[in-house]
């Protein structure tokens, strides 16, 4: 693990922290309490949207998706049930299985835990957006080559987690892959081969692999 650099640590010294706090405190003190409250109320009133459906524009896989959604609709729900992007799967709807993983800009996120309205203004990439003109990405192809899938329901989530990892870290270690996939569950038991696939897609020599062998009985 990388050690924190002492100088950078020092940048957030107690003195600078108090100094920045002081600025805020001073601003608050000079303004009249009532006017602040009124301003806040007005600002919030402008921001209240819903409860009925409102127009929402999502940029998904490079294309704009215009939907009418109640503000409480999650990104996962918007993709799966208000459009035909059913590649992201619902396995738990509570941020514990990772089947719904998509990329928000370059970050892998649980789309079941993001409201669709919050995802506006971001580049959303779903599993459908990876292959271009029907050509699988290295990660997708590695999953197929290594048989890193069985029923395939968790697969889109794992593919997205691995894709996001390789964007950030093109040469991951075994532990990096484990860490990146720690938020994804698979019940069929594809984990060893997901690990292999991720490393193969990155072109990293596999130093930990399952050995298999066929021995004729006769």
């Amino acid at each position: 693990m990388k050690k924190p650099e002492p100088e950078k640590f020092g940048a957030h010294s107690r003195r600078t922290f108090l100094k920045s706090l002081g600025t805020v405190a001073a601003t608050a003190a000079t303004a009249q309490v009532e006017s602040v409250a009124a301003e806040l109320e007005q600002a919030n009133a402008e921001k209240v949207i819903g409860p009925n459906a409102v127009p929402v524009t999502l940029k998904v896989n490079g294309k704009f998706l215009k939907l009418m959604l109640e503000p409480r609709v999650t990104l996962l729900d918007a993709l799966r049930n208000y459009s035909s992007l059913t590649g992201a799967k619902e396995g738990c709807d509570r941020a514990s299985c990772g089947a719904c993983t998509v990329m928000l800009d370059d970050l892998p996120i649980y789309s079941c835990q993001k409201l669709a309205i919050e995802a506006q203004g971001h580049e959303i990439t779903t599993i459908e957006g990876l292959a271009q003109n029907g050509k699988l990405t290295n990660v997708q192809q590695a999953f197929v080559d290594k048989d890193a899938l069985m029923c395939g329901y968790c697969t889109p989530g794992f593919v997205m987690s691995v894709t996001a990892l390789l964007k950030k870290n093109p040469s991951p270690t075994t532990d990096d892959v484990k860490h990146a996939c720690a938020g994804n569950l698979c019940r069929c038991g594809t984990q060893p081969r997901i690990l292999e696939a991720a490393l193969a897609a990155a072109g990293v020599a596999v130093n930990r692999t399952t050995k298999t062998e066929v021995i004729d009985y006769a």
């Binding site: 729900d77 799966r80 049930n81 035909s84 992007l85 059913t86 590649g87 992201a88 799967k89 619902e90 396995g91 738990c92 709807d93 509570r94 514990s96 299985c97 089947a99 599993i127 459908e128 990876l130 292959a131 699988l136 997708q140 999953f143 197929v144 080559d145 048989d147 899938l149 069985m150 029923c151 395939g152 329901y153 968790c154 697969t155 889109p156 484990k178 860490h179 996939c181 720690a182 569950l185 698979c186 019940r187 069929c188 038991g189 594809t190 984990q191 060893p192 081969r193 690990l195 930990r208 692999t209 399952t210 050995k211 298999t212 062998e213 066929v214 021995i215 004729d216 009985y217 006769a218």
Partner: protein, 697 residues
């Protein structure tokens, strides 16, 4: 007699899963992805009481919620509910939120009963509350006895007594149970997440008084079942009835919470084992007293046992003197159902633990004790292969002799799986087009095992084509009927069927084209001679190309931290046979999967019930723990190829011995037995005497 090609090009090779590209690109449409025109959400209202008399259910307030198109009860009039989560009513509406609101609005008048029991040990007491009014909670088989057990124990050089317990395990497939149902004047179409499309069609027809010909199930892709997705289930029937009432398709997928309540589980076991051997290690006497629960599906009212409460004992071993007593106990919890190798993993855990405890008492190497007592030649060979790969001779040390705080231990265990065997009624057809394209249609389904790939590999081999030249259609009851995918039978059912179709197709092509051998290079020329009409050939399962049973042994190495109690699995060597290996790549995946599911059973998984409220306390993935990628060890797979036996399934045997091997490795590391699954840190520390024992309530 037919026989498999002796020098195959694709069979036993590494053909990539042919539907892999669909699955990795999000194009595969699973049951929960179906968006039928004008579809509605369906949701189920469940009992919040473990036992109650339901007096009335008023649906009117639900129907007033905007967006709600239908509301129905499961059953009219007064009724009883016997477990928390039992289905009461269902609604269909245009949004998720409308349905959630509607469930809250339904008025249920109930007389909750304080008389319920959710603990099998309490449930078998004579004065326990009765789950079924007029029947005992306990269904006890009469003791099975052979030889003279009491005398025989006196003749033994070593006798051990142990108590080995296994929890209720939940299937938790990644895709929950459910379906979309569309009921129109033309009949009922269901897109169910199922491992048995025919069982869904027949079950819906039976429940809804429709002709079989009026019901169709389509399951192109589904997200795992592990034994729990046969038949339409209560939810499937409700989806169909909602569709009928709302005059629109209804998608009713269960929540993860629902999955823990009412769609099956693996029964628990509480095994008291007394085992004795002669001085040379030969098993001489065995006494077994076991009980377990299958929820409301146990006890005298239901006949019990059918879901795996009754265990094979003394599992894969023999003793001349045995006494076996077993009981299934009803409790107020959701019923059990088939779960990957029903009754085998718990049976293996109990018996194989006892074997290691006996070996310790005899001062014998536990592998030696197995080789001494296991009469099966295949497993004998597998133990030797596995021991060599694992390095057993160097790694095995006497129990508890590992030094330091983090102790290393090794263990092994064996498996048998013979319950399945191929389904003789499997049928299929192929359509060969004049342009040489060919499509196979079989009314089976792929629950993740690689069904399509098996069909393509066998067809390519037989026709001299490449697997990617074969189009495979499965998962539709309009195709010729196939078996449900259970008992590790699918591969052994469809491979001979495809063989038969191909043989007949080649015969007919020869007749129609005049080309003697239509395979390989001649394929397109022969097909062209068909003129304008495609050739459609039917075939069925034929004798001589498949068989049962399968065996298998596994070796495991673990680290046990004696300060934290944490068990880390370092290595598993899995040695398995499945006759003729059809596709090596997908076979290995099945074995990995079996080991990993067994690892969860050994270390993490357990349904926890609350005695006071009768609810399931861990109905989610935060508290019901599955093995994650960091928990998975190196798994070495050795496939013992036995092409002379024909095709045998592999899904189930691969998960049988893992928990037993891991349990033995833990005992070997720390020198004391943790006889209760899952082997949690708390139980390890308790076994080491570092904390007061965990009270199992």
């Amino acid at each position: 007699m037919p026989s498999w090609p002796t020098n195959p090009k694709y069979i036993s090779g590494d053909t990539r899963r042919i539907d892999g590209p669909e699955k990795v690109s999000g194009r595969a449409r699973y049951s929960s992805d179906i968006q039928a025109d004008g579809w509605l959400y369906g949701m189920i209202l469940r009992s919040k009481w473990p036992a109650a008399q339901i007096t009335s259910i008023n649906l009117e307030p639900a129907l007033k919620i905007p967006g709600i198109k239908a509301a129905i009860t499961v059953q009219d009039g007064e009724r009883m509910v016997r477990f928390y989560g039992e289905e009461l009513a269902a609604v269909a509406g245009t949004t998720k939120q409308a349905c959630l609101d509607a469930l809250l609005a339904i008025e249920v008048v109930a007389k909750p009963s304080p008389l319920f029991v959710v603990n099998e040990t309490e449930g078998k007491a004579p004065d326990a509350p009765k789950v079924w009014e007029n029947a005992s909670n306990v269904d006890a088989s009469s003791p099975r006895e052979q030889g003279n057990v009491d005398t025989a124990f006196g003749e033994c050089a070593a006798v051990i007594e142990g108590f080995y317990t296994t929890p209720v395990q939940l299937h938790n497939p990644m895709e929950t149970h459910g379906s979309t149902a569309s009921w129109t004047d033309n009949g009922l179409t269901s897109w169910a997440s199922t491992q048995g499309i025919s069982s869904v069609r027949d079950g819906l027809a039976g429940a809804l008084k429709l002709d079989h010909s009026q019901v169709r199930d389509i399951t192109e892709y589904m997200g795992g079942g592990f034994g729990s997705k046969f038949g339409p289930g209560v939810h499937g029937v409700l989806a169909a009835r909602l569709s009928q009432a709302a005059k629109a398709p209804v998608r009713l997928m269960l929540t993860r919470f629902d999955e823990a309540l009412a769609v099956g589980n693996r029964p628990s076991s509480f095994q008291k084992i007394k085992l004795g051997a002669l001085a040379d290690g030969t098993l001489h006497a065995f006494e077994f007293d076991n009980y377990g629960t299958a929820g409301i599906g146990a006890g005298a009212a239901t006949g019990g046992g059918g879901s795996g409460v009754v265990l094979p004992a003394p599992y894969i071993y023999k003793a001349p003197n045995t006494r076996v007593t077993q009981a299934s106990v009803a409790i107020n919890a959701g019923p059990a159902c088939a779960f990957r190798a029903p009754s085998h993993p718990p049976a293996s855990f109990g018996m194989e633990s006892a074997m290691d405890d006996l070996a310790a008492k005899l001062g014998m190497d536990p592998l030696e004790l197995r080789l001494k007592n296991d009469s099966n030649e295949v497993r004998q060979r597998e133990y030797k292969l596995g021991a060599e790969r694992f390095g057993w001779a160097a790694k095995y040390k006497k129990p508890g002799s590992s030094p330091g705080i983090v102790k290393t231990g090794v263990g092994c265990a064996g498996a048998a799986w013979g319950a399945g065997g191929p389904s003789r009624r499997t049928q299929g057809e192929a359509q060969i087009n004049p342009d040489g394209s060919i499509e196979f249609r079989l009314g089976v389904q792929d629950l993740g095992t690689g069904t399509r790939t098996v069909i393509a590999v066998v067809a390519a081999e037989m026709l001299g084509l490449k697997p990617d030249q074969i189009t495979v259609k499965v998962g539709d009851t309009n195709y010729p009927p196939g078996p449900g995918s259970g008992g590790s039978t699918t591969c052994a059912s469809i491979s001979p069927t495809v063989y038969d179709i191909c043989t007949k197709a080649l015969d007919q092509l020869q007749t129609q084209s005049g080309i003697t051998d239509a395979r390989g290079d001649n394929w397109f020329a022969a097909c062209k001679k068909l003129g304008v009409s495609p050739l459609v050939v039917n075939g069925n399962w034929i004798e001589g190309l498949s068989t049962k049973p399968a065996y298998g042994v596994q070796f495991a190495e673990v680290d046990v931290d004696t300060e934290t109690g944490l068990v880390t699995v370092k290595k598993v060597v899995a040695v398995h046979d499945c006759g003729l290996i059809v596709d090596k790549l997908t076979t290995e995946s099945q074995i990995n999967g079996g080991v990993i599911m067994g690892l969860g059973y050994a270390l993490y998984e357990e349904r926890v019930m609350d005695d006071l409220s009768g609810v399931v306390l861990n109905p989610n993935f935060e508290t019901y723990k599955l093995s994650g990628i960091a928990d998975v060890p190196d798994i070495d797979v050795i496939l013992v190829n036995m092409p002379e036996r024909g095709v045998i399934g592999i899904g189930e045997p691969a998960t049988v011995p893992t928990a037993a091997a891991l349990g033995n490795a833990v005992a070997n590391a720390i020198g004391v037995r943790v006889g209760s699954l899952p082997i949690t840190p708390a139980k390890v520390l308790a076994a080491l005497g570092k904390v007061p024992p965990v009270e199992k309530t």
